[in-house]
């Protein structure tokens, strides 16, 4: 039980008074920003990255854990009270949660979301603590060819499964890969696509790209369609506590949601949308009162919320053990690691065990803090929802540009930020997914160097990728996942023609 020993050591780190303060600040900031309408966890983490610039890596990653979980909680509060889900994974929560709030049951809806998230995150973080060391044991034996295969899988699943069509997803990925080319190549010193601009020699900063695409792109998108009226948050009437019936109807969906969310989140095909939708459908089928679905069934909040949080903890498994981000939030988290020159992967567990296990322990602590803070402070969060839209987006833009100014106060960097903002706006307007761009920028150069190192070892023979069973299988899976959507669409068309 090595992981238990390490985990206890992690708790010793995380329970140091200063680190507890960092965790509390992270949780409060994360919830406060996450609760703002239209801001999901990815944007929350991206916006708050600069806050952690000057802290030591340990403290900053602990604050990060708080921001991550806090952003998730904040998102569900917005979905329930405002029906404006900040991210696709809270869409399902908004379905039933907002109906409950409209019927004066906003309190119990928030409570079942909060307690369900707590239960799910607790179980899923335990899962992470036990699964991660096992995966690390496998991953240390990986050669560069295996990493190349894994990255191919990540590329395909992230781009072909998100978004409305594989063409759009792959285009987003290609833009990310193209941005990843920019700068001086690590292996040969060759400059690519820098056009003599010194700021581009070090490559594109992931934080600049993420903040530009997510924050500025979103603000431009919202202002371009702000002609429509915005919704007012629903006031919470009556008790916020759950009745005995609420409890008995909630606890099984929590467990089932966790059981769906964690494994799906931990797969390289990740993402939280699939488990939340699966959980919603499952609860509707299993409920004793299926007629309540659509008009505010508590199971429809409890299950998907648990699934959402469990899959968020699940995406940390490939992120920490393999360095593979499988969601937008994970991609931004990876940028946070790289800010300290830490490269997540099996070596991170070997080189900085105290740091990794301190982070895992902080996830538990952040989770407990959230439960204690979120429900009593719900009045404060509701007040944040009432910030007038003009000031809200003005503040977001100021904060977003501040991050870039603080990290690299150059006009070129700011112009890049604006350029990515326009790109994000256009992609939202024409329905291209955003996450593959960030994933492409991060993983593109890594895949490039993994492939080239494999070929150096084989003296240029590309067959090395297929001679190792691990990489051969992974390349096969990636090819299948790439071809399948086109094939199935072809099949569907064929059937239609027959009819």
């Amino acid at each position: 039980m090595d992981s238990l020993v390490y985990l206890l050591g992690g708790f010793a780190t995380a329970l140091e008074p200063m680190n507890l303060v960092f965790a509390a600040i992270g949780v409060l900031l994360g919830t406060a920003v996450g609760v703002l309408p239209g801001i999901g966890p990815a944007l929350t983490v991206a916006l708050l990255l600069p806050v952690t610039f000057k802290l030591d890596p340990g403290g900053s990653l602990i604050m990060f854990a708080g921001i991550y979980y806090g952003g998730m909680y904040g998102g569900s509060t917005t979905a329930i009270l405002l029906n404006t889900p900040g991210e696709s994974a809270s869409v399902v929560t908004a379905l039933e949660g907002n109906q409950m709030a409209r019927r004066g049951r906003g309190g119990p809806a928030l409570a079942t979301a909060a307690i369900g998230s707590f239960v799910a995150a607790l179980i899923a973080t335990l899962g992470l603590a036990f699964l991660a060391p096992l995966l690390v044991k496998v991953a240390v034996k990986f050669g560069p060819w295996d990493y190349f295969g894994l990255m191919l899988i990540a590329f395909v699943t992230v781009s072909a499964t998100f978004g409305s069509s594989p063409l759009r997803g792959l285009t987003s990925l290609a833009i990310g890969l193209w941005l990843g080319l920019i700068g001086i190549d690590q292996l040969t010193g060759q400059t690519r696509l820098a056009f003599g601009v010194p700021n581009l020699f070090d490559g594109i900063e992931v934080t600049t790209l993420a903040v530009g695409l997510f924050a500025i792109g979103e603000a431009l998108h919202v202002v371009s369609r702000h002609l429509r009226t915005s919704e007012k948050p629903i006031a919470i009437k009556g008790s916020i506590w759950m009745s005995r019936e609420d409890w008995s109807r909630s606890w099984k969906p929590w467990i089932r949601g966790t059981a769906l969310g964690f494994p799906i989140g931990a797969l390289p095909a990740g993402g939280a949308e699939i488990p939340t939708f699966l959980s919603y459908t499952m609860e509707r089928k299993l409920s004793k009162k299926p007629e309540e679905f659509g008009t505010g069934a508590i199971e429809g909040v409890a299950g998907p919320e648990a699934a959402n949080n469990a899959s968020a903890a699940g995406t940390l498994v490939p992120l920490l053990t393999l360095g593979l981000p499988t969601s937008a939030t994970a991609a931004v988290m990876l940028a946070g690691f790289q800010q300290y020159n830490l490269q997540p992967g099996p070596l991170l567990f070997v080189q900085y065990p105290a740091l990794v296990w301190g982070l895992v322990a902080s996830l538990f602590i952040a989770n407990v803090m959230l439960l204690v803070l979120n429900l009593p402070l719900v009045g404060l969060w509701v007040r944040l929802l009432k910030i007038p839209v003009p000031w809200l987006y003005a503040g977001i833009l100021v904060f977003a540009s501040m991050g870039t100014i603080a990290a690299n106060p150059s006009v070129v960097e700011l112009l890049l930020l604006l350029g990515f903002g326009f790109l994000g706006f256009l992609m939202r307007r024409y329905d291209y997914p955003i996450a593959p761009v960030v994933v492409g920028l991060i993983l593109g150069p890594l895949a490039d160097s993994a492939l080239r190192r494999s070929l150096q070892m084989s003296l240029g023979d590309p067959m090395i990728l297929l001679q190792h069973p691990g990489s051969a299988i992974m390349i096969g899976i990636a090819t299948l996942a790439l071809v399948a959507p086109f094939l199935f669409r072809g099949l569907a068309k064929f059937r239609q023609d027959e009819d």
Binding site: P50, V51, F53, K54, S164, L167, L170, T171, A174, L177, W178, L181, D185, L187, T188, G189, Q190, R192, L193, I216, A219, L220, V223, S224, R225, H226, L227, V389, P390, W391, Y393, A394, G395, L397, V398, F399, S401, M402, I405, A406, P409, V411, L414, L415, L418, G421, R429, Y430, D431, G444, D448, L451, R452, L455, Q456, S458, L459, G460
Partner: protein, 156 residues
Amino acid sequence: MIQPATTGFHRPTLIIGVALFAIAAITFNDARNMNIRASYGMGADAASYFVAAFLAILGVGHLFAAFRPGIEAEQAAWKAFSWVVLGLFGLVGAIWLGAGFILASTLLFVFTARAFGRRALIKDAAIGAVLAIGIFLLFNKILTLALPMGPFERLF
């Protein structure tokens, strides 16, 4: 936005496809001019050629997709949009001219609030300035980050 939906021809998709070709051409050209060669295996140009080819294939895909009916983009409030753009460029310009973080941020705040339909210029400027000063004090004094200095920043 009026689209000739009857023919099923989708102009934005066509423009995106052409833009993808353009990026592919730039990347191809850049890769051709690389002069550092790897001793064996793949050089730094291989990835560029791959991405250029990938972009070109997607460009072809967009050309085909352009002849099918696509997503109609919503009518956009371009006037409000340009206020925000003006604010963003105002921020860059202010930083470039050395006006400092507080002035630049206040400018962005006021322009964005205007974009969302507010007309209370002085009130918005006051709120923006308070926010910017708060961020400046927090970051420069407590977190010791270097935000750009200007006339106002030197007062603190």
